[in-house]
């Protein structure tokens, strides 16, 4: 809805980007532990020169296999010929192989897919023609539905994207 309003108000040019990458995702605390290393498929929608929405999904392997799904919005800041950084906020959920933790005063496990809110920064983006390379992206946040409190991390080692106009 917000995005639609922005689009309507600004009629900004759109850029669609599809990418693949490798990253680490983790959410862990007193009640859940999940995450690991794995590949990603990402879609990004650029709105104008600065606004960027992304959706990313990928398996994570360390404990039991888990699927991480991220959805976020960021602000892109160009700082040189072809170079830019993007920072914003995203939600990250873990589906599948989540290790639950219980204790004597908390015998009922947290159910459902744990999810977290994270702030992220992609500090190094380089665009050359239709191609985009990102590396060393970092996301840090907290679990939303974990009463014990949990730390959520994402490290996007690299991502290669292909941009098409809209």
């Amino acid at each position: 809805m917000i995005l639609a309003a922005i689009l309507a108000a600004n009629a900004a040019p759109l850029a669609h980007e599809l990418g693949v990458g490798v990253g680490v995702g983790y959410q862990g605390g007193d009640t859940v532990v999940a995450g690991g290393l794995g590949g990603d498929v990402a879609y990004r929608l650029g709105v104008g020169d600065h606004l960027q929405v992304h959706a990313r999904v990928g398996p994570r392997l360390y404990l039991a296999p888990v699927l991480e799904a991220d959805l976020g919005v960021g602000w892109r800041v160009p700082f040189g010929r072809g170079w830019s950084l993007t920072a914003g906020i995203e939600g990250a959920a873990m589906f599948g192989g989540v290790v639950r933790r219980v204790a004597a005063d908390r015998i009922d496990p947290v159910l459902g897919a744990p999810w977290a809110v994270r702030v992220f920064v992609d500090p190094i983006e380089y665009r050359s023609g239709p191609f985009v390379l990102r590396t060393l992206g970092l996301a840090v946040g907290v679990g939303v539905d974990d009463p014990g409190g949990s730390l959520a991390l994402g490290v996007h080692l690299f991502e290669v994207g292909f941009v098409g106009g809209g």
Binding site: Y62, A64, V66, R100, A103, A104, L111
Partner: protein
């Protein structure tokens, strides 16, 4: 609406007050002096045996004297232990088995396991677990339980889970409804900064708790463990991890480092108790793993917990994942 949904899927407490009371009554019989004495006897027995240096670890391994002494200790309790031998690939393994038949579901077996082979003379790892087996045998032999309780001490855990892998292979047709395994259950420290954890896991800073790890089919037994821990005569601090799939933690080896791994691989619901060994103990797999490092009060609480859990599992007759 979301709150309503969550309320609908929140699982029930796994044990009734009556079941907790019955299990705790049995656990109240744990005698900490007997536990410590049993550890001492096993350590002394191991010390009489000339060790074999086993590569690639390069550590002195012992098992035969402990096997014989364990059979004697069961006999002193009036229990006939069966020694199940397998000799394969140059490794003679002697698993020691005591069976306490169930009353109404004798074909359904609840396993209580530990290993009796050691590096050096192994007080915590794992004479402490063997001592709990003995105490459990003493207490369970004086009780009635619906299911059969089979108490198994595995050989050659330290050299690759050989005894347990052979046991689960050779007993594949038995109806194992659940297994509770112990490995190193009597070492604790009480100062901040004494506990570390595997990568990705957080644990309390003070090394005075036990961990209980389960595979997915053992979620309810693991929650039973959490429920019982606070009700024991000497409550136990326990960190319980519920498995994410049938064969928990394939991506890291830390949680497969004892005989429960062979049970999990066989698809049997299993809960593993440990003091976390090298994540807290400086004596792990050294000659200093001696009787003087044992924490008797902590060991007693673990014994109460394990015995209460096994008794609760053996007193039921519905599938372990279902509420009675």
């Amino acid at each position: 609406m979301l709150v309503l949904f969550l309320a609908c899927v929140t699982p029930e407490a796994p044990l009734t007050d009556e079941a907790i009371g019955a299990a705790v009554d049995v656990a109240a019989g744990v005698d900490s002096d007997r536990l410590l004495t049993s550890i001492g006897i096993m350590v002394a027995a191991h010390a009489t045996e000339e060790p074999v240096i086993v590569e690639p670890w390069g550590l002195p391994h012992r098992h035969l004297a402990g096997t014989e002494r364990l059979v004697d200790l069961y006999a002193e309790l009036g229990l006939a232990a069966e020694v199940e031998e397998t000799d394969e690939d140059g490794w003679l393994a002697k698993n020691v088995i005591v069976e306490l038949p169930g009353t109404s579901a004798p074909d359904e077996v609840v396993l209580l396991t530990a290993h009796h082979d050691v590096w050096f003379t192994g007080a915590d790892d794992n004479s402490s677990g063997v001592a709990v087996l003995l105490e459990a045998a003493r207490l369970f032999s004086a009780t009635e339980h619906a299911r059969t309780i089979r108490i198994v001490s595995f050989d050659h855990e330290e050299v690759g889970l050989l005894g347990s892998l052979r046991y689960y292979r050779d007993h594949a047709d038995d109806d194992h409804v659940a297994v509770v395994n112990m490995d190193a259950v009597s070492f604790a420290l009480h100062d901040p900064g004494t506990q570390s954890a595997p990568t990705g896991f957080t644990l309390p800073d003070v090394a005075d708790f036990a961990v209980a790890l389960s595979n997915a089919p053992a979620e309810r037994p693991a929650r039973m463990a959490a429920q019982l821990a606070g009700e024991l005569p000497h409550p136990l601090k326990v960190q319980v991890a519920l498995g994410a799939d049938d064969n928990l933690y394939p991506g890291t080896g830390d949680f497969h480092r004892s005989d429960h791994s062979a049970a999990w691989t066989a698809g049997i619901p299993g809960v593993f108790f440990s003091d976390t060994t090298n994540f807290r103990s400086p004596y792990y797999h050294t000659e200093d793993d001696r009787i003087g490092t044992i924490d008797p009060a902590f060991g007693r609480s673990v014994a109460e917990e394990v015995i209460a859990l096994v008794y609760a599992l053996a007193s039921e007759t519905q599938p372990v994942g279902e509420q009675p």
